[in-house]
């Protein structure tokens, strides 16, 4: 059964994520050199970039699980999809927030209608749509299947949206921003990858523990749940 296995794995992922966070933060904020053009402010990318990468990646993973659940009618994959959504939305939100914090000192404004930030915002909307559709359907099976279909439609649409936003951005010429300086120093890269791995592990830990509670909720009438030590209390 998946439930106890996930229960054993969660602490490991959580602890290693915490360690990597600490290391990554240290590398990023104390070891990595100050950027020549952007000064100290650039250091926020150690949070911004991993968060935005994960937010996009998690959407695809979520859509993949949703598709599996829809096609093969496996309930665990549907539960995984609904467990992934809040974490993905959180990362999208963090990416937007840090993007704004980065934008203020860099371009003097909290928000620029840059292609990447705009796409990130739309991605957040897609996550919110998925979560609210799932939340407003009472029947769990219909909720799973309906939101799975939405996730698939969304993931097919994401490239079209990204392309159109990019195109819109170049047309309006408002703010073309070059991310990432010409070459990243090795320590910067290390810090970045450490943070990415930390976020990744964090996502796994959180999603696993969330899927555990979803399983408990869905299976609350079954015998094995009633016999669990933590429930029997």
């Amino acid at each position: 059964m998946f439930y106890p296995l996930a229960g054993k794995l969660v602490p490991w992922f959580a602890v290693s994520s915490a360690i990597l966070f600490a290391v990554g933060m240290y590398l990023g904020f104390f070891v990595a050199p100050t950027d020549a053009t952007q000064g100290e402010f650039y250091r926020i990318i150690y949070i911004h970039v991993p968060a935005s990468i994960l937010s996009m990646f998690l959407y695809l993973v979520m859509a993949g699980y949703a598709a599996l659940g829809l096609i093969f009618n496996t309930r665990l994959s549907s539960m995984m999809a609904s467990a992934l959504a809040p974490t993905g939305a959180l990362f999208a939100f963090i990416a937007l927030w840090t993007g704004a914090l980065w934008g203020k000192p860099m371009w003097g404004t909290w928000w620029v209608w840059d292609a990447r930030l705009t796409s990130e915002l739309i991605l957040l909307f897609l996550y919110l749509g998925f979560i609210s559709l799932h939340a407003s359907i009472d029947d769990p099976r219909r909720a799973d299947r309906a939101s799975a279909l939405l996730a698939i439609v969304g993931s097919v649409n994401v490239p079209i949206i990204y392309f159109s936003v990019k195109w819109w951005n170049t047309l309006h010429q408002g703010s073309t921003i070059k991310f990432t300086g010409t070459s990243m120093q090795v320590t910067m890269q290390h810090a970045m990858f450490t943070m990415l791995a930390a976020c990744w592990l964090y996502a796994v830990a959180v999603v696993l523990s969330r899927v555990r509670s979803i399983i408990l909720e869905r299976e609350r009438h079954t015998k094995w749940v009633a016999e669990l030590p933590e429930v029997a209390l």
Partner: protein, 206 residues
């Protein structure tokens, strides 16, 4: 020939029935019995393919209904609790459109004579919203007269009908069975079809 084996169905957490099996051959009629909430409507909707069963198989002439899809749908006539008629349209328009959606072109005169037989003479062209509940049910049931479907699945067909209409429905069932049709229905009223024995399927709450 409709064969159902080991069928299980649930709504939310609640298991309605499981291990249900029966077979219905041409010329047979079956009444689904059970208390309120025992899953009669869910069973009928599952037989129509609206609900995917949790377990089990529904086969039409030996083939799985899910694979047959549209080929099976064209053999089924379903009438649920709702009348499936539009208030804005007249009984005549409703009948013609629902026949068209089920793949049949229905002539004006055939439609009018069907409605007259259902006792709606002189009301064929009135918007349905001015008719009474019983008359609406009659307008909905007029589909039985014009359909060429082999399997009728009727959920409470007698609701809101008066005595005359009930005997008319009994008559229609008899004609359909004589044509080697099949009927599955639910009702809380007595319904007797002359010359045919009604099979009873009881759903009891688990």
């Amino acid at each position: 020939m409709l064969e159902v084996s080991n069928l299980a169905c649930s709504r939310g957490d609640h298991r309605l029935f499981s291990g249900l099996g029966f077979a219905l051959s041409p010329g047979q009629i079956m009444q689904v019995q059970g208390e309120n909430g025992s899953g009669k409507t869910s069973l009928l909707r599952t037989l129509c393919g609206f609900i995917q069963p949790d377990e089990g198989r529904i086969a039409w002439e030996g083939k799985d209904v899910g694979e047959l899809a549209e080929a099976y749908f064209s053999r089924v006539l379903y009438l649920g609790h709702l009348n499936a008629i539009k208030d804005e349209l007249s009984a005549l328009e409703n009948l013609k459109i629902s026949a068209a959606v089920s793949g049949m072109e229905l002539g004006e005169s055939a439609a009018i004579s069907a409605l007259r037989r259902m006792g709606l003479k002189g009301r064929e062209r009135l918007p349905v919203k001015v008719l009474s509940q019983g008359q609406r049910r009659r307008a909905a049931l007029a589909r039985l007269l014009v359909s060429d479907a082999a399997l009728w699945i009727l959920d409470e067909p007698l609701a809101a009908l008066d005595v005359n209409a009930v005997s008319l429905i009994e008559e229609l069932f008899g004609e359909h069975l004589a044509r080697q049709g099949m009927v599955i229905f639910t009702t809380h009223q007595p319904l007797l079809v002359a010359g045919a024995e009604t099979i009873c399927l009881s759903l009891s709450a688990p």
